[in-house]
C-alpha cells in the first residue's frame, strides 16, 4: 500500500511541475497523462477485469472473480526511447495472515530504443515473440480468456533483450531470454544426487517473422491484407517434472500432468490474422517438443514429449465498426447509441502425447508411450463495447476432454461454463 501512495505522490508532483509550463502538464489523453515536453511524457494506465461466472457441472470455483487488476506507467523519453512498467495488484496475506491489497507480480517492465524502424531494441521484462494471442494484451482480446495453447505452450513474459523491426513487408523479432517465459517455468526444484551439480535453466532463444506475405502472391483481393507469421523458440529444460502441462480451461485441474524432461524444449508456431472491415478471422497452430534424455525407468532416453494446440476464431461487428482500427463505438452508449456490438466464436484444442505411439500407453510421467489427452473448447461470445474505456464480454464455453478419467471431474468428459465480464481499461 505504501508503494501505491508513493506512486500517487510521484504523479502529483510531476503534474504540479509540468502544469506550470505552456501546453505541458497534466492532460487527459484517453488516460491521465503528464506531458513534460515534445516526445517526453508519462501515462498512467490501469486495467480492472471483473467477472461473474457459472459452471455446469460445478468445478468448485468462485462465482465472482477479479482476474486482472493492474496499475502501470508508460512514457516516452524523446523520440528515441520509450518505456513501460505495469504491475498486478492483488490480495495477499500479510504477516498476520490477513488478506490485504498489495502489489504483486511485475507484468511489463521494459525500456525500448526506437530510433529506427528497421532496427529497434527492447530490454527488460516483456513478452517473448511467440503466439499471436499471447502477445495481445489481456484487455484487447476478442474473448475473455486466451485459447489454451496461448497459455500452455506460448512462453509469455520473461527477462531478456530483443531486436526487432520492420525493414520491409516483413516484421522480425529476435531475442534472448533469461528463462523460458512465465508459462514454461520449471516446476520442480532440481533433485541433485551426490556428485551432481545444479543445472541452469535457459537461456531461451526466440524469433518471429510476420508480414502481409500474401501480397507477394499473384492474386488480388482482400485476402492480400492478411498477416501471416511463423515463430520459433529454443531453450534448455533441467531434469525434473518440468514439462509443459495441460490445465483445464479454468485451471481447476490438470488434464495432462507434467512429465519428466531433460534437454531441449523447442516450439514452432504459425499465425494468421485477417481483419477485413468489421470482421476478423484469426488462427494459430503451435507445437512444443521436449526432450526426455535419460528419463526412462532404466535411465535411458524416452521419445519426445509433444504438445500441440490450435484455434480458429472469427468476429463480426454487427454495428459496423472497423476491426482494424482502435475500436471506438460509432454511437457510444453515453451519446445515446447502442455502443459497438461484436459477435465472436472460437474453436480450439490443446493436446499432449509422446512422439512414440507404439505399444501399451501409460499415464505415468516416465512412459515412452504416454496415453494422450486433449481438451477441445468451443467458445461463443458477444462483446459490447460501451465506451472506449469499457467493454462487457459474455462468453459461453464448452469443454470436451478426450480422456474422461483425467478431466476436472473424473468420469465426466464435457463441461459448460459461462461468464459475464466487465473490462475497465484506461
Amino acid at each position: 500500500m505504501k508503494r501505491v501512495s508513493l506512486t500517487a505522490i510521484l504523479i502529483a508532483s510531476f503534474t504540479a511541475t509540468a502544469a506550470a509550463q505552456d501546453r505541458r502538464g497534466f492532460v487527459w489523453n484517453d488516460r491521465p497523462t503528464v506531458v513534460f515536453g515534445e516526445d517526453i511524457d508519462l501515462e498512467v494506465r490501469g486495467r480492472a477485469l471483473v467477472e461473474w461466472r457459472r459452471f455446469d457441472p460445478e468445478v468448485g470455483e468462485d462465482t465472482f472473480n477479479l482476474p486482472t487488476l493492474r496499475l502501470g506507467l508508460k512514457g516516452e523519453l524523446t523520440r528515441h526511447f520509450d518505456w513501460e512498467f505495469e504491475r498486478q495488484i492483488e490480495q495477499q496475506p500479510d504477516e498476520e495472515g490477513v488478506d490485504r491489497w498489495q502489489f504483486g507480480e511485475w507484468k511489463d517492465a521494459y525500456f525500448r530504443w526506437r530510433t529506427l524502424d528497421s532496427v529497434r531494441v527492447i530490454g527488460g521484462r516483456f513478452k517473448m515473440p511467440f503466439g499471436l494471442e499471447q502477445t495481445t494484451g489481456v484487455s484487447d482480446l476478442d474473448f475473455a480468456y486466451r485459447a489454451l495453447g496461448s497459455t500452455a505452450i506460448a512462453p509469455g513474459r520473461d527477462r531478456g533483450v530483443m531486436v526487432f523491426g520492420d525493414p520491409g513487408p516483413v516484421t522480425y523479432e529476435v531475442g534472448v531470454f533469461d528463462d523460458d517465459g512465465d508459462n514454461g517455468q520449471s516446476n520442480e526444484p532440481q533433485f541433485v544426487q551426490a556428485g551432481e551439480d545444479l543445472e541452469d535453466v535457459g537461456p531461451a532463444f526466440a524469433m518471429r517473422l510476420t508480414g502481409d506475405l500474401l501480397r507477394v502472391l499473384p492474386f488480388s483481393g482482400r485476402l492480400r491484407s492478411a498477416n501471416i507469421g511463423v515463430a520459433y523458440t529454443n531453450s534448455n529444460v533441467p531434469e525434473g517434472l518440468n514439462s509443459l502441462r495441460g490445465e483445464s480451461f479454468w485451471g481447476t485441474a490438470d488434464f495432462f500432468e507434467r512429465v519428466y524432461v531433460k534437454g531441449r524444449r523447442q516450439r514452432i508456431g504459425a499465425q494468421f490474422d485477417w481483419s477485413p472491415g468489421p470482421t476478423s478471422l484469426k488462427a494459430e497452430w503451435m507445437q512444443s517438443r521436449e526432450q526426455r534424455k535419460e528419463q526412462s525407468n532404466r535411465n535411458q532416453d524416452l521419445s519426445d514429449f509433444v504438445a500441440t494446440a490450435w484455434y480458429v476464431s472469427g468476429t463480426w461487428f454487427v454495428t459496423g465498426e472497423n476491426k482494424d482500427d482502435n475500436i471506438n463505438p460509432k454511437r457510444p452508449l453515453l451519446n445515446g447509441g447502442p455502443g459497438a456490438i461484436e459477435l465472436t466464436a472460437r474453436i480450439e484444442q490443446l493436446g499432449f502425447k509422446s512422439a512414440n505411439t507404439e505399444g501399451t500407453a501409460f499415464t505415468n510421467p516416465r512412459a515412452d508411450h504416454l496415453r494422450p489427452n486433449s481438451d477441445t473448447v468451443v467458445t461463443f461470445g458477444i462483446n459490447w463495447i460501451t465506451t472506449r474505456w469499457t467493454r462487457v464480454i459474455v462468453n459461453a464455453i464448452h469443454e470436451d476432454f478426450e480422456d474422461p478419467n483425467r478431466a476436472p471431474q473424473r468420469g465426466t468428459s464435457s463441461f459448460w461454463s459461462g461468464l459475464v465480464r466487465l473490462n475497465v481499461v484506461f
Binding site: 533433485f191 544426487q193 531434469e239 519428466y260 535419460e294 528419463q295 526412462s296 525407468n297 532404466r298 535411465n299 501399451t360 500407453a361 501409460f362 499415464t363 505415468n364 510421467p365 516416465r366 512412459a367 496415453r371 478419467n405
Partner: protein
C-alpha cells in the same frame, strides 16, 4: 526352404532351443517353497527420491521383472507404519496404476515387505501358512531377493494385497463387498468399546478400500451398528442379534489362531486392537476378519491362551457364550494338531532357504547375530507351543493332561 529341412530346424529348436515356459500363475508367484528373484528398474532419481521421502506415499513408475515376466510402468510407493525405512523401504506395487488394463497373473497389486521388524524374516510367512491351514482368511506370502537397478536391495517378503482379488479368492468370487483396513490410532487404543453414534470415529479407524463412492451411512453405518449392538446387547440375545452382523464362528477361529501363534499385536493386542482387515460380504450384513501383518507373532511359547481376551468387549462377550468358548479351545487344539509335524520343519526349511539372502542383506536394521538368535527362538517355538497349548486347554477343560505338562 525344403519341407525336410524346415522340419529338421523345427525339431532342433524344440529339442535344444527355446523351451516353452510353463504358464505362470499367482500361486507360483506366492509359492513359499522357493526363494524368488524380483527386479525393480526405476530411474535412479526416483529411487533416490523414494528413499529420501520414505514417509510419503508418492508413487513412482518402475519396471518389475519376475521369472521372465516384465510388468512395465507399475506404480511403486513406500509403505508401512513402524516399518518405514529410508535404507530398506517397504514397497507397494500397483500393477495397473498407470494403465487400467494392465494385470499381472490376475493381480492388481502386491506388497514387498521389508521384514525390518522381524529379525527372523519368517514370522509372517509361517503365521499366514498356519492360518490358511486352519481356515482363517489370510494372504499368501513368499520370500524374494529384491534387486533395484541391478543392485541387491535385500531380502523381502512378497505378500498378496488384501484387495478385491483376494476377496474373490477367499469368498468364492464374491468380491464386491465392503473391505476395510484397520487404521491404528496412535495414543488412542481401542478395544471395541462403543464410540458413539457419530460415524467419524469409525471412518478414522476403518479405511474403506472398495466401494469408496457409496455414502458414509452405507459404508460405515453397519460398523457403527455392530459395535453399538456388541456393547449394548445382553448376553442372552447376543448371538441372535450380533450373529447376523458378524460371523461369530469365523471370529472365534481368528481369535484362537492369533493366540496360538502368540500374536501380541493383533485383535487383543498389547495396545488395543490392531493389524487386520474387515470385510462385509457382498449382499450381506455379515462381517469377517482377515489376518494381516503378523510379523511380531511367535512372541513366546508360553503365551497365555486367554491373554487379554477379557480386555476386549467383543472377545469377552463372544467367549461368554458356551458354544464359542468350546470352539475357541477346539481351534487351539486344531492349530496344535496342524502345527505338529509341520511347523518346525517348515520353519527350518524357510530359514535355510533365506539364510544366505538374509546374511548378505546389508540394508536390514539388525545384525546377523540377531538373526541367528531369532533362528534358535523360532526353531524352539513349535514343539514348546504345541505342548503348552495342549496342557493349558486340558487344564481349562478338565481333560486329561498330555505328557510334558508342567
Amino acid at each position: 526352404m525344403r519341407p525336410l529341412i524346415r522340419a529338421g530346424v523345427v525339431l532342433f529348436v524344440v529339442a535344444f532351443g527355446v523351451q516353452p515356459l510353463a504358464a505362470q500363475t499367482a500361486d507360483d508367484f506366492f509359492n513359499p517353497g522357493v526363494l524368488h528373484r524380483l527386479e525393480l528398474w526405476m530411474n535412479q532419481a526416483d529411487w533416490a527420491k523414494l528413499k529420501a521421502a520414505f514417509q510419503e506415499n508418492t508413487y513412482y513408475p518402475a519396471d518389475v521383472v519376475w521369472n521372465g515376466i516384465t510388468i512395465r510402468n507399475a506404480g511403486i510407493r513406500s509403505r508401512g507404519l513402524g516399518s518405514r525405512s529410508s535404507t530398506k523401504p517397504g514397497l507397494r506395487v500397483d500393477v495397473n496404476r498407470y494403465a487400467e488394463s494392465q494385470a499381472f497373473l490376475g493381480l492388481k497389486s502386491f506388497i514387498l515387505d521389508n521384514l525390518t521388524q522381524d529379525p527372523s524374516g519368517i514370522r509372517e510367512n509361517i503365521a499366514n501358512q498356519l492360518l490358511t491351514r486352519i481356515g482363517v482368511p489370510a494372504a499368501r506370502e513368499a520370500h524374494t531377493r529384491l534387486y533395484v537397478n541391478g543392485e541387491y536391495a535385500g531380502l523381502y517378503g512378497i505378500i498378496e494385497s488384501v484387495d478385491k482379488s483376494l476377496m474373490g479368492r477367499l469368498f468364492d468370487g464374491a468380491d464386491n463387498g465392503f473391505l476395510f483396513e484397520y487404521k491404528y490410532q496412535l495414543g488412542s487404543p481401542w478395544r471395541f468399546e462403543d464410540l458413539g453414534r457419530s460415524l467419524d470415529p469409525y471412518k478414522l479407524r476403518f479405511g474403506i478400500k472398495t466401494n469408496e463412492n457409496k455414502s458414509d451411512a452405507t459404508i460405515w453405518g453397519p460398523i457403527e451398528e455392530l459395535v453399538r449392538l456388541v456393547n449394548t446387547t445382553p448376553i442372552e440375545t447376543f448371538e441372535a442379534v450380533v450373529g447376523p452382523r458378524l460371523d461369530l464362528a469365523a471370529f472365534t477361529r481368528f481369535l484362537a489362531a492369533q493366540n496360538f501363534i502368540a500374536e501380541n499385536d493383533g485383535f487383543v493386542g498389547y495396545a488395543g486392537i490392531n493389524n487386520f482387515y474387515f470385510y462385509r460380504r457382498q449382499d450381506s450384513s455379515s462381517h469377517v476378519f482377515i489376518a494381516w501383518d503378523d510379523d511380531v507373532a511367535f512372541l513366546q511359547s508360553d503365551f497365555g491362551i486367554t491373554t487379554r481376551l477379557e480386555d476386549n468387549t467383543l472377545s469377552r462377550k463372544v467367549l461368554m457364550l458356551p458354544r464359542y468358548q468350546a470352539m475357541y479351545t477346539d481351534v487351539l487344539v486344531a492349530a496344535a494338531a496342524a502345527s505338529e509335524g509341520w511347523m518346525r520343519g517348515e520353519i527350518e526349511r524357510l530359514l535355510d532357504m533365506i539364510g544366505e539372502a538374509m546374511e548378505s542383506d546389508t540394508n536390514k536394521p539388525y545384525s546377523n547375530q540377531q538373526h541367528a538368535d531369532e533362528r534358535r527362538h523360532m526353531l524352539a517355538f513349535p514343539d514348546q507351543r504345541i505342548t503348552y497349548v495342549r496342557c493349558e486347554v486340558a487344564k481349562q477343560t478338565g481333560a486329561t493332561r498330555p505328557p510334558g505338562c508342567q
